[in-house]
Every structure is written in C-alpha cells, then in structure tokens.
C-alpha cells in the first residue's frame, strides 16, 4: 500500500479522498491555488502544496505543476478526484511516466470513453444497447440536418469531449439545427478545447440511471447497483438516489451485466460509472462511461456498505477487490442533494461571497460531504457546490423524510443557496411517487414567488427590534452586569469592552 497520496483536486472531493487516505493509514498531500490557501481541504490534509493562481487553467489543470509537487512530496500515488484532470489520459500517462500511480483507470480506457464516438463503437461491438445516432463526429451543418431527418426529431447535439451538460443542445426542428450546431461547437471549444460534436436521438422524458462498477488489475469486475440521477437542472444532476424507484432485480442484473461488459470492452480497472438513459418501460441505452469516481458515489456507499474511495486506492495499489459480485447486498435507500451556492429563483444563477453563517445538519441517517466552513469564501473561480447532503433510511420514504429534516436544519447565510429548491422537489407528489425524468424540474418545479408571510412578518419584527436596540444606545455597564465570568474570560482579544 502507498505511504503518501497526492490529491490533485479541491473542495469536497479532495476531502473525501483525504478521509479515504486516513482510513488506510496513508498520508495525504493537498494542492492549492491562491484562492484556496484557507480552503477546508488544505485545513484537513496532512501536507499542502501551492500550485499557482486561482484560475484552474493556471493551477489545478496544469499537469506539470501537479507532477512536480507530487515528486517533491514523495507521493507514490495521485488521486485526481472528479473534474479537473480526472478524465485526462495525458495526465494519467504523465503520472506513470513519472513513476507515480494514477488512482484511476488505464489511459487507454479514459481515452476511449472520453471520445463519445469511439465509445459508441466499442459498445456496439460489446452488445451494450445504445441510443440511435451518429457514430462519427459531425463535420458540416448540412450533414447534421440529414442525420437528424434520418433518426427523427427531437435530436441532441453533444460535444464529443463533453460532460456535465456543457456543449449540449436539444433541437426540436430543422430550422434550429444550424444555430444548435454552432452553439454546441463554440461551447465545446471553450470548455474542452475540442469542438467535435455528434448527434443522437433525443429521448422524451428519459430517466438517467447509472451503474457503479469497480474492477481490479487482476481481471475482477463487479457492479454495485444503480443510481438514479434524473433530477437535473441546467443539464446537471442535483438530486441522486439509490436504488432507482424504476429498477427491479431483473433490470438491475441486466444493467449491471451490460455495465460490466462495457468496462471489460474498455480494458477497465478502478472505479467507473456507466451511464444509461432509460425509458419508463425499462428499456435502457448506453449514454457514456465516466472514468472516475462520481460526485454521487456516496449513495452507493450508503446502500452497499462498500467504501468506494478506499477501494479505489486499494485497487490502484495492486490489491485484489475485497469482495465478489455475490457479496454485494443492497440495504435501505439513500438520497443525495447537491447543495449549491446558487439562486433557484433567478435561473440557478451562481452566488459568491462569504459564508457568514454555516451550520450543517446531522443526526440519524445524515451524512454531509462538504468543502466549506463558516467564514470561508465561495469563490468565483470554481464550481459553486457547497456540499453534498446525504440521507439514508430503511426505505425510500424514510430517506426522503430524513432528507427533509436535514434540509430544514441546514443553515447557510451570506450566499444564495438551493435548500428551498430541494425541499420543494422532495415534497412534490410526483417525486414521492418516484415518477422521475430528466425533465422533472422543467415540468414540475414552480418556485414560490413570495416568501411565507409569517417569515416576512418575523423578519420585519426582528429588523425593528434590532434598529430599536441600536438607536437606544445601551451603556456598556448595564450589559456587563449580566455577563457570566466564564464569558468574560473568553472574550478577551479584540474587544474594547472588557478593557473598561
């Protein structure tokens, strides 16, 4: 096993890996940009290395810098987290060139799955069902029109190098194709430096269901059940759960075996996720394979009891998987709500600033994977995710109930957040019934325009009382009378008032 691992990431996922390292008795080395010197992942790691200015293109994405500090630190492995360099085959190769183990799949598998076209071809060869569409990148707009006519509208234009909703356009009719192609291409170019796009049939009201797989370097590959990630906004997942309300034992086995076939076709090892679109009749189609640990991996951890991050590191160090397919048992139900600094009332506009107040929920069935603390800054440079709030219960009903309780307890002030949004979704009858699709937000989410009048009234009273207090300047002496001695003891530095 490794003695030290460098974590080439930031935020909650860096912390997730720090925790995995500690559980394995491995020293963790963090990296940080100028914007992250005080970030929680730096506060929790054993060591921390500076890698440059805030923009990720000058720090977290610079392969040479990461390799350099890894060498300097003496780390034997690098965990890339998700995002940044996690699915960069060049980086994986640079690691092995430097004699450092990349905690992830082989570069060839990253490359193949990163190229949507190549992946589709391999899946066809491996008998994994795919969505009808192009097998080659689309060059000209006219070509796109012909393909669209062939497979029928609506179609989806996607970046070949894409992910996370970037470089993606839905086109409902012929007249929109040209602008769609152009938009997707330019977004893809700026996001991935690769403007190749492809086209596939757009499924109406699909469900997004994915299978977690993990494979060792000894030829063992196991699936760990599914996650349903249909609740999305801006084409990005916000609520995930496991198991899926749609999937039964038969479908789970079929999808799981297809996912393992997909992984084997790519010569895969380490953790990975095979994403499928499913229709309400339980047909499913290969969408893509994410060659890394997913944001939403904890829901799988909760229902299987398997620690994916430690298992990743074990496998990367050459160990065999500690379990077989038959050992994987699903128990209970887990939900993840991604808590973002964003305003659902303004089209999910990200919010930045100081976390003035920050108090996480806890208690039975609750886990919070967060990357912040009270007084920390939500910076403009990175993803505005505050935390992943997870609930676990004996069944879906209890998981929902506990999640609502945790959302109610969560206190975030100073930046906008989507806690109310999550509550609205989780209380929605269609969500409770498990009738999900990737259009759920568009179809069902209707934010309350006005805050509850009871809260407004209480706020008005509080403002008046606060103002009243300020105006009627109270002398210090009258206040000091009521202060206990222990308080006085601890209030020393920075206070004018204890100096008389």
């Amino acid at each position: 096993m490794f003695k030290k691992v460098l974590i080439a990431n930031r935020g909650e996922i860096a912390i997730r890996v720090i925790r995995a390292c500690r559980d394995l008795g491995i020293r963790s080395a963090a990296v940080f940009s100028d914007a992250d010197r005080g970030a929680l992942h730096v506060r929790l790691a054993d060591e921390a290395y500076y890698i440059g200015p805030p923009p990720s293109t000058e720090s977290y994405l610079v392969i040479d810098k990461i390799i350099d500090v890894a060498k300097k630190s003496g780390a034997e492995g690098i965990h890339p987290g998700y995002g940044f360099l996690a699915e960069n085959a060049k980086f994986a190769r640079a690691c092995s060139d430097a004699g450092i183990v990349f905690v992830g799949p082989p570069p060839d598998a990253i490359e193949m799955m990163g190229d949507k076209m190549a992946a589709r071809k391999a899946m066809i060869a491996a008998d994994v069902p795919i969505v009808p569409g192009t097998e080659e990148p689309v060059e000209r707009e006219e070509q796109a029109i012909n393909i669209a006519k062939e497979i029928g509208f609506p179609i989806l234009i996607k970046a070949a190098a894409g992910g996370g909703g970037k470089g993606m356009r839905i086109v409902a009719e012929e007249s929109e194709i040209k602008s769609g192609v152009r938009g997707a291409r330019s977004e893809a170019k700026s996001a991935f430096g690769d403007d190749r796009i492809y086209i596939e049939k757009y499924l109406a009201r699909p469900r997004h269901i994915e299978i977690q797989v993990i494979a060792d370097t000894h030829g063992n590959c196991v699936y760990l059940g599914e996650r349903e990630c249909s609740i999305q906004r801006r084409h990005q997942k916000v609520i995930e759960e496991a198991p899926s309300p749609l999937v039964d034992e038969v479908m789970r086995k079929k999808m799981g075996e297809a996912a393992v076939a997909a992984a084997r076709a790519a010569g895969y090892f380490n953790a990975g996720t095979v994403e499928f679109l499913a229709d309400q009749d339980k047909n499913f189609y290969f969408l893509e394979m994410n060659t890394r640990l997913q944001v939403e991996h904890p829901v799988t951890e909760l229902i299987t009891g398997i620690d994916l991050a430690t298992e990743q590191i074990r496998v990367a160090s050459g160990e065999r998987l500690s379990f077989e397919q038959d050992d994987v048992r699903i128990r209970g139900h887990a939900i993840e709500c991604r808590i973002y600094a964003e305003d659902p009332l303004s089209g999910f506009l990200p919010s930045t600033g100081l976390l003035r107040g920050y108090q996480e929920p806890s208690g039975p069935g609750i886990r919070v994977d967060s990357g912040v603390y009270e007084g920390a800054e939500i910076s403009v440079f990175y993803d505005p995710m505050i935390s992943k709030l997870l609930s676990y219960g004996k069944d879906r009903k209890q998981a929902i109930t506990r999640m609502l309780r945790a959302l109610e307890e969560y206190r975030i002030t100073g930046v906008a957040n989507n806690i109310e949004f999550h509550k609205d979704i989780l209380k929605h009858p269609e969500f409770i019934a498990g009738n999900l699709s990737t259009h759920f937000i568009d179809e069902h989410y209707r934010p309350a325009e006005e805050p509850v009048s009871e809260i407004e009234e209480a706020a008005a009273v509080t403002v008046a009382l606060a103002e009243h207090e300020v105006r009627n300047k109270v002398t210090l002496s009258s206040l000091k009378k009521n202060v206990t001695s222990s308080w006085k003891m601890s209030w020393r530095p920075g206070s004018e008032f204890n100096k008389k």
Binding site: G357, A460, V463
Partner: protein
C-alpha cells in the same frame, strides 16, 4: 473611533445578555418595508409585548455569534435571521432565502410622506452583475423596451453562462458594458430610463 454598527455587533455578542431594563425610549413606531409589503411595528421601551400591524405579539429577541445571528421567539415560535446592514437597510438571511428590509421610524416616515417620497422604490432602474464574470453577450440596445423575464446580458461565471433577465418592465437607456468585458460583482451593466 469604532463605528456605531460595530459597537452594536460587539455588544450584542454576549449570549447571556437579556434585553436591558432601562435606557430605552418609552415608545417607538417603526415602519419596515420588505418587497412591497409594509409592517408597522410598535415597540414600547423594553416591554416584550409589541404590536405588528396592530396585532399584539410577545417577543424575545437576542443576538448571538458576534451580533449577526438574531434569534426571535414570537409568541414562542422560533425564528432565526442573519442581519447585515446594507444600503441603509438590512439584508436578511434566513434558512430559506434572503430579503431586503428598509426600516424607518415614525418621524422619518411622516417627514418622507410630507416630502412625497415613496420609500423603497421597486421599479426597474438598473441591472447589476450578481457576480463577477465575463460578459459574453449583450441582448438589448439603448432605447429598447423590455418586459419582465426578457434576457438582457449573458455573463459567464463559474464556467457557466448565466442569462440575466429583466425583473420588471422598462426602457433601456444605456449599456455600460460590452462583449468580452470582465465585470465585478454589483457593477452596473444596463441603465433603464
């Protein structure tokens, strides 16, 4: 000099501080405006019974965490707000979102009414950048009429394109930014007539 507001914050940081029993004005009326709603709050010295829009409420109001955390029990129902002075009023953060409140006392309010002021005007005056970012598109022109929900400017921030929309109807007077320009948070992007 310590600014008055800092004093207030530090002072109220004492968790055990009860609302003091002396030194308060006998009676005071405040008008608090939140959005388009107005609340008349009557406070009588340090009497825990106040009235809001004529209704009596027994309150227990304290500050914690250096003064920013306001805890209110209103007829024993628990509320919690994080108050931040802002533009002569208060930004109010609560567990389900945030709002802005303007507060004036009765005297000032009467004066304002005499002078014909409207208080917190909510008409479309200008569009400010809600976060720092890069202007990737300007969707309106000077002189153009816009209605609520119309897209005005697209700002890229946090790797996402964010379309800023009109929060009401208005007529564009001036565009302060152009495509490709980096903007600060709260920088004025569009001015309306």
């Amino acid at each position: 000099m310590i600014p008055e507001i800092l004093k207030a914050n530090c002072r109220s940081g004492f968790p055990e501080t009860r609302r003091p029993r002396s030194g308060f004005d006998k009676s005071m009326k405040y008008q608090v405006t939140i959005g388009d709603k107005k609340f008349e709050v009557d406070i009588n010295g340090d009497d825990p019974t106040i009235t809001v829009n004529g209704r009596k409420v027994v309150v227990d109001h304290r500050r914690y965490k250096g003064g920013k955390l306001h805890s209110l029990l209103a007829d024993n129902v628990r509320f919690e707000f994080d108050l931040e002075r802002s533009n002569g009023g208060y930004d109010i953060w609560h567990s389900s979102g945030s709002m802005f409140a303007e507060v004036v006392d009765e005297k000032t309010n009467r004066l304002r009414k005499l002078m014909g002021e409207t208080g917190a005007a909510s008409k479309l005056a200008q569009l400010k950048a809600p976060m720092p970012g890069l202007v990737v598109a300007v969707q309106v022109k000077p002189g153009q009429e816009v209605k609520k929900g119309d897209g005005l400017v697209i700002v890229e921030a946090m790797k996402m394109e964010n379309e800023l929309k009109a929060t009401g109807a208005g007529k564009v007077k001036e565009i302060k930014v152009k495509r490709g320009q980096a903007v600060e948070k709260n920088e004025v992007l569009v001015v309306f007539e």
